[in-house]
Symmetry: D3
Subunit: 191 residues, 6 copies
Amino acid sequence: MTEAHPISRFPIPDLADMPEDIRNRILAVQEKSGFIPNVFLVLAHRPDEFRAFFAYHDALMEKPGNLSKAEREMIVVATSNLNQCQYCVVAHGAILRIRAKNPLIADQVAINYRKADISQRQKAMLDFAVKVSRSAETVGEADFDVLRSHGFDEEDIWDIAGIAAFFGLSNRMANVTGMRPNAEFYSMGRG
Amino acid sequence: MTEAHPISRFPIPDLADMPEDIRNRILAVQEKSGFIPNVFLVLAHRPDEFRAFFAYHDALMEKPGNLSKAEREMIVVATSNLNQCQYCVVAHGAILRIRAKNPLIADQVAINYRKADISQRQKAMLDFAVKVSRSAETVGEADFDVLRSHGFDEEDIWDIAGIAAFFGLSNRMANVTGMRPNAEFYSMGRG
Amino acid sequence: MTEAHPISRFPIPDLADMPEDIRNRILAVQEKSGFIPNVFLVLAHRPDEFRAFFAYHDALMEKPGNLSKAEREMIVVATSNLNQCQYCVVAHGAILRIRAKNPLIADQVAINYRKADISQRQKAMLDFAVKVSRSAETVGEADFDVLRSHGFDEEDIWDIAGIAAFFGLSNRMANVTGMRPNAEFYSMGRG
Amino acid sequence: MTEAHPISRFPIPDLADMPEDIRNRILAVQEKSGFIPNVFLVLAHRPDEFRAFFAYHDALMEKPGNLSKAEREMIVVATSNLNQCQYCVVAHGAILRIRAKNPLIADQVAINYRKADISQRQKAMLDFAVKVSRSAETVGEADFDVLRSHGFDEEDIWDIAGIAAFFGLSNRMANVTGMRPNAEFYSMGRG
Amino acid sequence: MTEAHPISRFPIPDLADMPEDIRNRILAVQEKSGFIPNVFLVLAHRPDEFRAFFAYHDALMEKPGNLSKAEREMIVVATSNLNQCQYCVVAHGAILRIRAKNPLIADQVAINYRKADISQRQKAMLDFAVKVSRSAETVGEADFDVLRSHGFDEEDIWDIAGIAAFFGLSNRMANVTGMRPNAEFYSMGRG
Amino acid sequence: MTEAHPISRFPIPDLADMPEDIRNRILAVQEKSGFIPNVFLVLAHRPDEFRAFFAYHDALMEKPGNLSKAEREMIVVATSNLNQCQYCVVAHGAILRIRAKNPLIADQVAINYRKADISQRQKAMLDFAVKVSRSAETVGEADFDVLRSHGFDEEDIWDIAGIAAFFGLSNRMANVTGMRPNAEFYSMGRG
């Protein structure tokens, strides 16, 4: 599909001109997904930031731990809609549908996770993620206690906070660059 | 499709027990859509409010005027996501995709209309709709002037305000009743 | 009393040019009140919306139920002042004074209902009404439990939410149209 | 008139036990008004603060200057309603009606001054007063320029800011003490 | 140290032209501190307000009571940073460091008192002070109960509220006048 | 100096147990600064995130470009105080004082940059940084135009946004972990 609309307010380098490690990562993603998610092209404008961004992303989203991959995507989707980030809601909504094998869950979690078809434990996880995203200055022991009462341990709490914080960065960069979601994401995983 | 989840916190009357005019309206919608949108069932708990609600809805959404049907749905979708109303974003997102014959537009407008593939005139329309929805007390002549500069006349301005105000009511009732979007809406019009 | 100030930013139809049902409703109100409340004239610009608006209003404000008529007006007055709606606070403040036979209550409820001469049950009712008006997306079971502990049943809860939601619509239309309260309302019921 | 409701959460000293200067001020007010406004009794619990409070009040509200006495009261009424201060809106609303010889103006200014029967210059004055009250940290040269364009000089600007700031203090003390407006104020000046 | 920057947007009177009582107070402060804190010079533009301001200040900050002098300064520092008042945070931060004999405490309390090296009782005091400063309209019995559970009595509660309210006034005047903190304050008490 | 207070809610690994690259980075910082800033120890709990965090940090803060090093620190300090992040304001305030060779600037920028001793160009830079931090969803062409009018080019704009976004992440992690500023930072660069 050709894009009539720019995917960034900033220049997009040609694949041929990118540093080799960045080009290779992009080609690997393209191989796997069938297309290049625009976040890779937009951030390639800044190779050092690109490398740090995806290293951080992978450290949070692909590490082992008690949070399922779908749960990590729920955090992204719920906080990104509050931050009005088109790219993150559309792209990670697609991933969430696929990870959760549920065509309805991404829109539910994005719009109002309190009414989504998820567990009470997952709602507590998202309550905390939203608090980190909107008013982290008020996070305190009482929040940790609520999470522990739902079975989350210290490492899970760090993971939830880390994902909410990292995508807060991502949301802001996407909104400033005008990062455009690829058309492919909108219908992925809708079954 | 059977629903494992309740569609309302309040009782849903049987079709057979509804007043005839309400049952007939519901059967006509079912005939046309192939399913009964849950808003009809949820509000049927209160027949007089049901009648007023849909009369108001039709007066704003189906009247002649300069705003296209797709534009009216844009107003619903943009304001309802700010109000975190699952039912209205999902159901009217579907209608917007169909009216605009554009599978991407509903998610774009819901998440951040400022970056959607719509005209500057439509962005001005949504700026005003969001202002009516969030801080109508500050609406003044300067807002009317901006709208006029985009070619909207007085009747269009009333229409934009009326739709934003009416769906503010609808969003609040959907959030309080826990109105659940029908599964059918999520994938409609995604092409 | 003649009005030196316009009562709406939009045209006001002549009584003689209105559809008969609307003219009759207005004449009946005039007969009963001694003057025509401006909301009737302002909304008569849009006959279909006029009919739906007052049908909705009557369904909520004049239906039988556990909420007294004064309590329904308290909801209107408390939420309308937060929405900075001159017409609704002034007009429904007058009605509240009359319904409650209390010349002080409307100003108290409008400015800060938490310190008004009303019962704890009524304060819980207004806490919920304000939550519906300002952040309905966060309404949940805990809110219903609080209301039940004060003796409100499910139907009462719908009534409170419906009134807060409907006057949210009314407040927005009044602010956009520049609807002017009739001078008569200011001193009614002040004893 | 006897008060069935406490006028403060804190103790109220007997007139006989007050320091003489405070008792004399209170008796003088009673002589002039026919009753003792509760703010005098509530603050008499703290004689030094009482003296400073009324000295500050008089310095701002009774000094000569370009702002009329009615305009000073408009500032009090508009900012106090945003701060949800029952005492200040009710008591100073009464004074505003009397100073302006206008029975409607206090409710208009309290609820939404943008739609009150006041001049554009007075609306600019209240825009600034509200900004001082709600977000003084963003006040800058552009705000001074707007005020100058309406004919306000430097001393007037200080007066507007001072009144908004002083009644911000007053609103907070009234809300914390639970200061109750005297019943007499509600109907004063309503003509 | 000479000041290249104006200390106020408004005129500063010469010491020689000030009323004697004001000049004497300023000279006494200079004698004690080694410099004249700018708040004295800025407010001297308005002698009556100057007198009332410092009388109020002294009534709250120098009265006997259970709150220590350092605790009173904590209230000033925590609320003034939320109000983004440069003068009050810098000047009272210096006083707090000196009163508490702790070079770190002022920055901790200013930025996020919830994580400062202070007692739970002091955090409860600051929770209440911040509530008075930001949303006094919602203060109620539950807040008083929390404070009592930490050992605060009624007079302490008034003190906390009074200081938060008074410095709300001070913050607003400092932001409007562009009151500049003296260079001396920044490093005082840093040990 | 010994620390009586924990520097994190999470475990801090021993230097000896850290991966070699992380230990080496920490030893190099200690060598240069004379102490180990706590952010290194707190984040060492998560080696992969540690590496990504500092790679991102260096890419933004140490890259060549038109923004001076002091200007980059201004962005950190101004946005971190709005996010109430003790660690970032205290630590980067120290760095700002040193970079700018100005003992007053950090407190001025932290508390209210609009009144700091910085240029109009720097205030425009901070206006944009704060907008990215608080409401990036509304960033648009008009914001870019303002920045261009102050001489910022596209790369500068990305830098400002990137720093504000990255420290938004850092602020949230510091608030959730309870990251404690080292005592050394408070007085560094105060002259």
